[in-house]
């Protein structure tokens, strides 16, 4: 049988250099993140735990404490950060350095697919009609990468990344920014949430990510009449996961109708003043301290 020379045998250049192009993309991410002290990934193993609102409110509370902050809404298909922050859809300036992110009233810099689409438009890609499962995750990983590398984040103390449910984007973040990513898990008290969130966080730890701690959201209900916190969900998932993973439970945030109303109308100032908002403000202090900010 004749021997055909291998790729390595050929000394001529690989003009496509596909591997080199991918490396260059990752280097762009690394260069951009040089200006960011900490990437704080807010994650859970399931949807419906209020993670996005916790992430947006926490990012705002960190900025209110005088830190420079950004919020990357990595839930490409279900973006919500701009609405919570009362951001309209401004025209985004594109410079040689990248896309300049809009800032909210507090100075929090934000990027989200919501800023790129019309209000009611679904996220849809230009693609052949069949085989979407083959490349859609690659494409969305690429968009996430561009949100990290191509946004002019500037120098930040913390970039909060609101991750969609599921482990994939967290794993991607670990590949792109392994040395400066810290993970904040969000759960609700129920046992169903405990199972899903613990699994997800365990996977993150096994992947080498550093857990900063855990937040239990919807931990009780703020009575709108008297302000007292009563029971809402049964269970104690926060304590249980924290014990199992050896990570601290950093905060317990009650469900608060006033906070929900503020989120609905994009009033982050009002939200931060609500009962739930004050608890997230306290959480921001703990998070900043643990991050050394």
């Amino acid at each position: 049988m004749r021997r055909i020379r291998t790729y390595a045998d050929l000394q001529g250049p690989d003009r496509s250099g596909l591997g080199r192009q991918v490396e260059a993309q990752n280097e762009r991410v690394a260069r951009r993140l040089e200006g960011i002290r900490t990437v704080l990934a807010v994650t859970s193993g399931k949807g419906g735990v209020g993670k996005s609102l916790v992430a947006a409110t926490l990012a705002s509370a960190l900025v209110r404490r005088g830190l420079s902050g950004g919020l990357l809404d990595a839930d490409l298909n279900g973006p919500s950060a701009p609405a919570f922050l009362g951001l309209s859809r401004p025209t985004l300036e594109v410079t040689d350095d990248g896309v300049v992110p809009p800032s909210d009233a507090l100075g929090l810099r934000v990027m989200s697919t919501d800023l790129l689409m019309d209000e009611r438009a679904p996220l849809r890609w230009r693609e052949p009609r069949t085989g979407g499962h083959l490349w859609r995750s690659l494409l969305e990983r690429g968009v996430f990468r561009e949100f990290l590398s191509d946004v002019v984040w500037g120098r930040l103390d913390v970039l909060v990344v609101d991750l969609p449910p599921g482990p994939h984007r967290l794993a991607e973040l670990n590949e792109l920014a392994p040395d400066r990513t810290r993970v904040l898990g969000v759960t609700i008290p129920s046992s169903a949430s405990r199972t899903a969130v613990e699994r997800s966080l365990r996977l993150a730890v096994e992947g080498g990510l550093v857990l900063l701690g855990l937040v239990e959201n919807m931990a009780g209900y703020v009575c709108p009449a008297c302000g007292e916190v009563g029971p809402l969900h049964p269970g104690e998932a926060g304590e249980s996961i924290a014990r199992a993973l050896g990570t601290p439970l950093l905060g317990r945030v009650p469900f608060d109708a006033e906070a929900a109303a503020c989120a609905e109308r994009g009033d982050m100032e009002g939200l931060l003043s609500s009962g739930a908002g004050r608890e997230i403000g306290r959480l921001a202090g703990v998070v900043a301290e643990r991050l050394g900010l």
Partner: protein, 145 residues
């Protein structure tokens, strides 16, 4: 990715790239020894798979633009979402080229203009015409731009 002319045992060299507009891609390689040419043809799924990585078969001709992947891939992006700074340099646009650029959705128009301008500047082309746009589109692998 490298191609070998088995008969000559020589590495083939990249010649050109063509995008006929149906989602397929052709990349032509030639043997420097015997002159034989071959074309690598990808079907729409293969083309999409590569472009989803944000990479170019045949290599990059001009630098990657900010948000190139999302702007090139998002269907029905918001009109007026971006305001692109003008590309530096003194490349002129013919009236016909400006008219043709005008039909590109505004979501990507500014980026496409910068890509064509970079392409022209790097080749010392002083005026961008529809013919230059066609050539750039092929050379750069700008499917749908």
């Amino acid at each position: 990715m490298k191609f070998l002319c088995i008969e000559c045992d020589e590495q083939m060299q990249f010649g050109e790239r063509q995008l006929p507009g149906d989602g397929t891609l052709a990349a032509v390689f030639g043997c420097p020894e015997c002159g034989r040419e071959m074309a690598m043809l990808t079907n729409p799924m293969e083309t999409q798979l590569v472009s989803s990585l944000g990479i170019k078969i045949g290599g990059r001709e001009v630098p990657e633009q900010p948000f190139e992947l999302v702007r090139g891939s998002l269907e029905g992006g918001r009109e007026g979402a971006f305001a692109d700074a003008s590309a530096p340099g003194s490349v002129r646009w013919s009236d016909a080229a400006v008219e043709r650029l005008g039909v590109v959705p505004s979501f990507v128009r500014g980026m496409v203009k910068r890509i064509y301008t970079d392409y022209a500047r790097e080749r010392a082309i002083r005026e961008i015409t529809p013919e230059i746009m066609d050539r750039a589109r092929t050379d750069l692998g700008l499917e749908g731009m």
